[in-house]
Subunit: 400 residues, 2 copies
Amino acid sequence: MTKTPVRLPVKDRFHLPEGMIYLDGNSLGPLPRGVDEALRTAAVDQWGAHLIKGWNVDGWMAQPARVGDKIAALIGAPAGCVTMGDTLSIKVYQALAAGLNLNPDRKVILTDSGNFPSDIYMAEGLIKHLGQGHELRIVAPEDVSDAMTRDVAVAMITQVDYRTGQMHDMQAVSDAGHDAGAVMLWDLAHSAGAVPVNVEASGCAFAVGCSYKYLNGGPGAPAFIYVRPDLIPKIDPALSGWLGHDAPFAFEPSYRPAVGIERMRVGTPPVLQLSALEKALEAWDDVDMQELRLASLELSELFIAQVEARCPDLQLASPRNGAERGSQVSFSHPEGYAIVQALIAQDVIGDFRAPNIMRFGFTPLYLDEADVIRATEILEHVMNDRLWDRPEFKITRRVT
Amino acid sequence: MTKTPVRLPVKDRFHLPEGMIYLDGNSLGPLPRGVDEALRTAAVDQWGAHLIKGWNVDGWMAQPARVGDKIAALIGAPAGCVTMGDTLSIKVYQALAAGLNLNPDRKVILTDSGNFPSDIYMAEGLIKHLGQGHELRIVAPEDVSDAMTRDVAVAMITQVDYRTGQMHDMQAVSDAGHDAGAVMLWDLAHSAGAVPVNVEASGCAFAVGCSYKYLNGGPGAPAFIYVRPDLIPKIDPALSGWLGHDAPFAFEPSYRPAVGIERMRVGTPPVLQLSALEKALEAWDDVDMQELRLASLELSELFIAQVEARCPDLQLASPRNGAERGSQVSFSHPEGYAIVQALIAQDVIGDFRAPNIMRFGFTPLYLDEADVIRATEILEHVMNDRLWDRPEFKITRRVT
């Protein structure tokens, strides 16, 4: 290819440790510049100086809506339909419970085996506690559209497979689901900020995601939830907390859901985390998602080509066709765990998912061709010199 | 009284704005010293420098247990029985759902009308979604022990009434509940850090609470949940998220609860909030809860005596008997909202709860007699000179 590579001139919006090549933004994004100061402002100038008054004078109560609107813009959702809080698992639960209520005559939650386990666990817990004979039906990712039968109440699909990066066609799967009368629930954990998403066009009822991966909100950053505008008034929240009440500070004796997306709020918002996230999202100013996607594909394809040329023992575990891939590339190897540890020791940060998957995330916000080539050079060195074949890299305890 | 007042020499552990008398620690505690630096460490030296490795090298994954143990020590719980995360409303839901499962032949959730509305709302949502004919029975606070009939599955009681500060006798109510075969669930939002609590002695199954009031964890600080050790293995979590799994990073296809209290975890912990809270809890080092209680009673009684002497129009809305009161004192007045606003304008920070309650929290960690007397002088001035009788104080919009 002789064309000019697509570059996003925003790398200086992030703190990146000197010498580190960070290919794990699909797990935890790096620290954006200004977040430290934003945290200090929230802690010292707001909480410290205003104490309880911060809820009013510093706009804390409106923060979930304000940040939600920023994320809405990144996932093709209209303003006023996204709110923030809790964790992704909680948001999955809320959406699942609401989705089952929207489709009360059906008993099946459909998902695929590439879904993130926590989504599946939350569905299991919900089904068990409801005790109403619901079924969790798990099919292979490639069979999802065909599995949209007329008994599916909710189809809970994670767009991008956390292991392989395989990406569902959101529109096609949504269309298949809607044709079958299913309520569509998309988990965009590996999509938001990674690929162009058009939640509104998909017609899906719910979309949820976390904000600590490609959105760079920091460890434990809160989750988001989108509800299709016309459905919001029909949602009867299972997690009916006071901040989802129409008048939280009237302290009425009984729950009455808020008119808008606020009904998906539960408890007190995590102001410090939201302040970090709100600042972090400024890194997206003037970033065009289509351009980001082009750059991401270029980086990913460069990585695949380089790794296949340099490291013949590694097997591509992601789709070769870029259109079927999110913003990560995975390779497999029986010693994948040790190889990733050896890479990390060389300051090339990827991660490992059992049983044999090495994951590498590519976001053009802070990565360029030079980083990719350098990473593959080091990977080649790790493989050729068997740097991974050391006892300290073979301990199987891992947390990330 | 001529005895020497009890003083806790820890006021310098907090940032308090010059001139402000802060009587709202029952709503949001002030900024403890060192929290700003702890946030900076978490953001810059951990997240910024270590990125994904922070989960291991900075101990983020163990933070909910580490912080939970610190809170356990403040509520009379053994180590290893408290974990952190989510919001109080979510923790109420978890405990309620688990409690109903522990008592499957009963259908009643008992609570009292002094409970915080969100607890009641969460119970409403749970009951509605379960659709299994459960009943939420709400009695007057003084009738709680008598209402422990043999159909009560779970008794969900907030120890200290958020409006009046009225405090239940945790042991007596627990004993009554256990005699009737009820599962006891205590909400300690206004107890933890406010009064001595002995969760273990009470024999209760569950205790939950927030950490942003008397524990000073900051706006949106995460909640805690305690489960009685012998019951932990019997809990089948409704909110069965991956971090409550026995092996979260094995990514098993089906949920299998962790052996210990970790099964009450749900999603990714809020590392930044937890880092603030972990530092904030150091303010409790060497603080004796019995001494704190004595000092809190002295301050509260001084306040009551001064207000009643200076402001005859204000009616005490809290129990006069200190033993029946938490660490707050409430007065009522038809113009309570405006009076609180006028006080705030004079830098005496209390808060208001509909319809006519003015709340004042007293924590000896950062308040002393001089503060209390000064606050009552200003209150007297507000009342005598009708400073509250201005249009700007009568706007009924309020958020806190």
